[in-house]
């Protein structure tokens, strides 16, 4: 029997296909197209303490094999989110990973305290790498010190049980260095990668197309960056579980990230092109793994790292 179950940071999931933060709405919108309890987990849109309008429009530009977005973390704030969205998700029987984002270390502490005793949450994804903030200096995951401080604040306030998945950006000189810091600070696993900072200039208006000027690049265009980041970190820290994402659109591309070292996959931009993308990817991935002779997902994790001698 093929075993599709996986483990991320100590939490168990029936299969390795999750939604990516910010790419699945509240879950309700997708449930019109498929039974969301068939997902390994739903990762919710990064939530902040207070309601947030997000950035001005235009917020989106399609790019070759990808898109640029500058949503800017639009959301209702943690209280309404827990009362409405999480309550609804809990009833659907889908595993929930709550993504949080803050503007200060104290924000992360407050969010962690609000979540510590909420039932029915499988893990926290701590987004310390959102590119859509006005000040690049606010991207915690860009500096070892701030990355560590944010994760420490969550660890201290969330209590021992809830696994912490730290979400990192590849927009740094050494992602391995940042990864080592956040693991030392108490993260149980890593989410790789957030979007890559980019810009599009409209040649008609001759100005940046997005109102926020810069945005986060996602989709197949960034897949090689994701594979590289996952590979480097799995090589440096093979025991640390990775939730991989970045341009996964098919079973084969999911397998690519798993071979690099990911234990589970988040599907983001692909859902915009096809609401049922996650389900198609799940079915295709199972077939790919079986076709390659694997009896489980776990056997395939990091398989690209094996010695040349074993070829």
């Amino acid at each position: 029997m093929f075993n599709f179950s996986t483990n991320v940071g100590g939490a168990e999931f029936s299969n390795p296909i999750f939604t990516a933060s910010g790419c699945a709405g509240s879950g309700k919108e997708l449930s019109q197209f498929f039974d969301i309890s068939r997902l390994g987990a739903i990762v919710t849109k990064s939530i902040m303490i207070k309601p947030r309008s997000g950035r001005a429009t235009p917020r989106m530009a399609e790019t070759p094999s990808g898109m640029l977005n500058s949503i800017g973390l639009q959301g209702p704030g943690i209280d309404q989110f827990l009362a409405i969205d999480v309550a609804w998700l809990r009833e659907q029987g889908v595993k929930i990973i709550v993504s949080i984002a803050g503007e200060s270390v104290e924000d992360y502490a407050v969010l962690a305290r609000k979540l510590r005793s909420v039932p029915g949450i499988s893990a926290l994804e701590v987004n310390i790498s959102c590119p859509n903030v006005e000040n690049r200096g606010q991207v915690f995951a860009c500096h070892p010190k701030t990355a560590r401080a944010a994760i420490e604040a969550v660890r201290r306030n969330v209590g021992g049980e809830l696994p912490i998945i730290a979400k990192l950006t590849p927009d740094v000189t050494s992602i391995v260095e940042i990864a080592e810091e956040v693991i030392a600070a108490g993260a149980d696993a890593l989410a790789l990668i957030n979007t890559v900072l980019g810009m599009v200039i409209d040649t008609n208006t001759m100005r940046p197309k997005l109102a926020g000027k810069t945005g986060g690049l996602s989709g197949p265009a960034i897949r090689p960056i994701a594979v590289r980041a996952i590979y480097q970190i799995h090589e440096a820290m093979p025991h640390v579980k990775i939730l991989g994402m970045g341009g996964v659109t098919s079973g084969r591309s999911a397998l690519e990230l798993i071979l690099a070292g990911a234990s589970a996959i988040s599907v983001g931009t692909a859902t915009f092109g096809d609401p049922t993308a996650a389900m198609k990817i799940k079915d295709e991935l199972e077939k790919e793994l079986i076709a390659h002779g694997f009896d489980s997902v776990r056997e395939a994790v990091g398989y690209a790292h094996r010695d040349e001698g074993n070829l």
């Binding site: 947030r52 309008s53 001005a56 989106m60 399609e62 070759p64 949503i71 931009t269 915009f272």
Partner: protein, 282 residues
């Protein structure tokens, strides 16, 4: 959310060039019966491993409910980008991945009122289906269509028959009155004693139509056009600032709480900025 939305492989039944546009017909089966004027479709473009990762949204021109096998859905496509150009290059027999019906629809009055339909460019398309519904309710329907030039006026003969009067404006004067729809709008609202204005077209036209409508105290429903990445409410790219019934301005998703919105509730002129006082603004 439009609870009737379905994802289907829809065969292209016909694809004809009409002026600057393509009139395309798809076999969509039973979902045709759920589409209402104002709803839109989202179509995958480029085929298989295309570098175009997002769907393209098009207002539904009209539908024919002929059951599971015969249901048809029609759109009018302006081939102005690589995705819409790809679509207009596909031949009958080809199947596309299509999701419909999406979004809100035009509100239909219960009384036989006097309605004015205002369309800009291919924005006229959903107005013909609307005028048919209004006519069946006993409404008097007038229409104004405008575009930069004659080739960009979409006004099929059978559509023209559903309206009591049709005024056309072009900026270059190649047909109809030289000027913009908003040059003739106030006059027609007053002369024809219009109760409600419906509009679809470029945002600038909707904004000007909204201003004139509120000045003259008539209701105005418009179908907005924002850049959409998903069309189903999961990406938050398509938002626009709308004042709710509680007086609070919120950034609202035009794909599920629109495209049809009450013109007076939109905070116009806020492209590239978040209006002051918006919920969650800093």
């Amino acid at each position: 959310m439009n609870k009737f939305a379905q994802q289907v492989w829809a065969e292209i039944v016909s694809n004809k060039k009409v002026g600057a546009y393509h009139h395309m017909v798809f076999a969509v089966g039973e979902l045709a019966k759920h589409a209402k004027p104002g709803n839109f479709v989202a179509i995958s473009v480029g085929g298989g491993d295309s570098s175009m990762v997002l769907r393209r949204a098009f207002a539904i021109y009209r539908t024919f409910d002929r059951g599971v096998n015969g249901g048809l859905l029609e759109i009018v496509v302006a081939p102005h980008g690589s995705g819409s150009t790809w679509l207009t290059n596909q031949s009958p027999g080809f199947k596309v991945d299509l999701i419909a019906p999406l979004g809100t629809s035009f509100g239909i009055p219960t009384q036989p009122v006097r309605a004015l339909l205002v369309g800009g460019g291919y924005g006229s398309a959903p107005l013909f289906g609307l005028s048919e519904v209004l006519k069946n309710r006993g409404c008097r329907v007038d229409m104004i269509l405008g575009a930069s030039t004659a080739k960009k006026i979409y006004a099929p003969l059978d559509g023209k028959r559903t309206v009591s009067s049709m005024t056309i404006t072009t900026e270059d004067g190649t047909t109809g009155i030289t000027g913009k729809v908003t040059d003739v709008l106030a006059n027609i609202i007053e002369t024809n004693e219009i109760d409600i204005v419906y509009s679809c077209g470029p945002m600038g036209m909707l904004e000007a139509t909204s201003a004139i409508s509120s000045q003259l105290g008539v209701m105005h429903q418009c179908a907005v056009e924002e850049a959409m990445a998903c069309g189903i409410g999961v990406c938050m790219t398509c938002v626009l600032p709308i004042r709710g019934e509680d007086g609070q301005i919120r950034m609202v998703r035009s794909c599920i709480d629109g495209p049809v919105v009450d013109g007076a509730s939109v905070i116009w002129g806020s492209k590239r900025m978040i209006p002051e006082g918006t919920w969650g603004a800093k």
